[in-house]
């Protein structure tokens, strides 16, 4: 096939799409490291098959499809595949990658940071360890020498606060089918 992706184009594609695809995968797998892994694997697969894919038309759909399928496989393999939940999350039967393509706008970003800074200290600490360091509840508990139950309570408190604070800034149009 003519015009197969060369290294330069492949690198540009990778750098443009990586974040969006990780975010796409996280929506399914709820795990940052697993999502990174899935997207890396998808690009390795694309590289192997680049001679068979029309760069102009099929690359993005190949990537989003692969990421989506691998993410669903991950859920299935971990017995976390639940049709009703995924449907409620607009991830099933079909989800479009474009939905997550444009990341957070600046205004929302500021609001998120503001809302996080309002959290009580312990609560914020727990929340940031989970979000920024990608630690599991157990790992946070170990690190802060508190119980897993406390981590759970703090996490849910944080999310509850953020939900109320960000309500008016979040994109509407989240149809619950």
């Amino acid at each position: 096939m003519p015009n197969a992706l060369d290294k330069t184009e492949f690198e540009r594609l990778f750098k443009n799409e990586f974040k969006g695809l990780v975010l796409f995968s996280i929506q399914y797998v709820k795990d940052y490291e697993a999502a990174r892994e899935i997207v890396q694997e998808a690009f390795i697969g694309l590289w192997d098959k680049r001679s068979q894919i029309d760069p102009a038309r099929q690359v993005k759909s190949y990537l989003s499809t692969t990421v989506r399928n691998r993410s669903l496989n991950y859920l299935r393999d971990n017995r976390k595949f639940d049709t009703r939940l995924l449907t409620q999350e607009n991830l099933f039967p079909l989800a479009s990658y474009e939905q997550t393509d444009n990341l957070v706008v600046k205004e929302l970003q500021d609001k998120i940071h503001e809302a996080v800074s309002e959290l009580p200290e312990r609560c914020r600490e727990v929340f940031l360890l989970s979000r920024n360091e990608h630690l599991k509840y157990q790992a946070i508990a170990d690190k802060l020498q508190i119980s897993v139950k406390t981590v759970e309570t703090q996490m849910s408190k944080a999310l509850q606060h953020l939900r109320i604070r960000l309500k008016d800034y979040l994109p509407s149009g989240y149809p619950s089918t």
Partner: protein, 402 residues
């Protein structure tokens, strides 16, 4: 509500942070399903979580660093551009009939004569791949399936197929039940007579209908819907349109895609739908029960049984499911009777065996867009068979393989 009013907030948070166990996921799912207010609350939490995650990914992920991680894992990155995709041509055939060492008959010379009038058995050394079905072959570059030692051949078929994008095979039955569905508008109907019909739908979707297949769609197709009824076998390349899903209806069974390519095989008699996906994504569900729909993962097959509204998912084990269009065939140590079943379906022929022992013969071979005569000739040479053409079909004779 649970007595502990943070119970479900905790559960939702656990779920969104990836901490929930399978049992907890089921519990959350039931809770959400039990009350629309629960669903709304969940959606709010989820939306909040999503934007926080997006923000965090945006800030933390450094694509340049990720690229450095990826680079060592890419094969042959030094050699730029050229893929491994050199496409060979032709076929290889190897008999593995009698299970004894060194037995592999090589296909050479011309053994079996398919007595089609005015046609002699083609020379093995010089197959003309285009001598297959011409109105198919002319449309695209010939695709050739070749076996590779480190891969299962049917995976090779799948990779080749992904050239076109996503492919699914569907058995849709019975289409007539769905005609009432569109009765409000005038329907456009396309029917293929004896051979494959190529057509472009108003939205740019291209379809190939196999012999005797037909497709119907409303006159306003492409404007406020993309819904079709298919009867028979078809191959679709659906133009992407994220606002208007492309839907194939069969009774209450539905197949839905936004933009992809797939094969469809619709039989009116039996009442069910079957989908085989090679790549891409296709959703299947029953009318009025969308939320219980399923999405097929490449390599899997979904069977929709209309009477009891069941969807069964299993691995696809037939590498030749799209051979009716490609005329690329692959047999891997397959029994001769199974091979003839496939050939009869693909070439709409009626080839039978003169005696039962022949059924046990096994053959490993690939064929690329060859005529039935070519295929039979290779099989004949490989398994030492003769053929006779009768008014009702072709009969194969031979000693059989022990």
């Amino acid at each position: 509500m649970n007595t502990n009013d943070t119970y479900y907030t905790d559960l939702i948070t656990r779920y969104l942070s990836g901490e929930a166990l399978p049992e907890e996921i089921s519990e959350l799912s039931s809770w959400i399903g039990s009350n629309p207010e629960h669903a709304t609350l969940f959606s709010e939490f989820r939306k909040t979580w999503e934007s926080i995650t997006a923000d965090q990914v945006e800030q933390q992920l450094d694509p340049s660093k990720e690229w450095e991680v990826l680079l060592p894992k890419l094969k042959g990155i030094g050699a730029q551009g050229t893929g491994p995709g050199a496409q060979g041509q032709g076929h290889r055939a190897q008999g593995t009939g009698p299970k004894q060492e060194g037995s592999g008959h090589r296909a050479q010379g011309s053994g079996l004569r398919a007595k089609a009038p005015g046609q002699k058995a083609p020379d093995i050394e010089s197959w003309d791949p285009a001598s297959g079905i011409r109105h198919l072959a002319s449309e695209k570059e010939p695709k050739v399936i070749q076996m590779e030692s480190n891969r299962l051949p049917w995976q090779v078929v799948m990779i080749r197929a992904s050239l076109i994008a996503a492919i699914a095979l569907v058995l849709l039955i019975p289409a007539w039940m769905t005609y009432h569905y569109f009765s409000a508008t005038d329907m456009v109907r396309l029917t293929a007579s004896g051979e494959v019909l190529e057509a472009v739908l108003p939205d740019g979707t291209t379809i190939s209908l196999n012999a005797y297949a037909s497709i119907s769609y409303p006159e306003n197709y492409g404007i406020n819907n993309r819904e079709v009824i298919l009867n028979g076998q078809g191959y679709f390349e659906v133009n992407r349109d994220s606002l208007l899903p492309f839907v194939i209806t069969c009774g209450s069974s539905k197949l839905e895609v936004l933009g992809t390519s797939f094969f469809v095989d619709a039989e009116q008699a039996a009442g069910n739908m079957e989908v085989v996906l090679v790549d891409g994504s296709v959703a299947v569900y029953f009318e009025d029960a969308r939320s219980t729909g399923k999405t097929i993962i490449p390599g899997e097959k979904a069977k929709l049984i209309q009477t009891d509204q069941r969807i069964i998912i299993s691995p696809n084990e037939d590498p030749n499911f799209m051979a009716w269009k490609t005329h690329n065939l692959i047999f891997l140590d397959d029994r001769l009777d199974m091979i003839l079943t496939t050939l009869n379906k693909i070439y709409q022929s009626n080839i039978t065996l003169a005696n039962e022992n022949l059924a046990d013969c096994r053959l490993t071979a690939t064929f690329s867009q060859q005529s039935l005569e070519s295929v039979l000739s290779v099989i004949g040479v490989t398994l030492d068979l003769q053929s006779e053409t009768t008014p009702s079909g072709i009969i194969l004779y031979g000693k059989g393989c022990n």
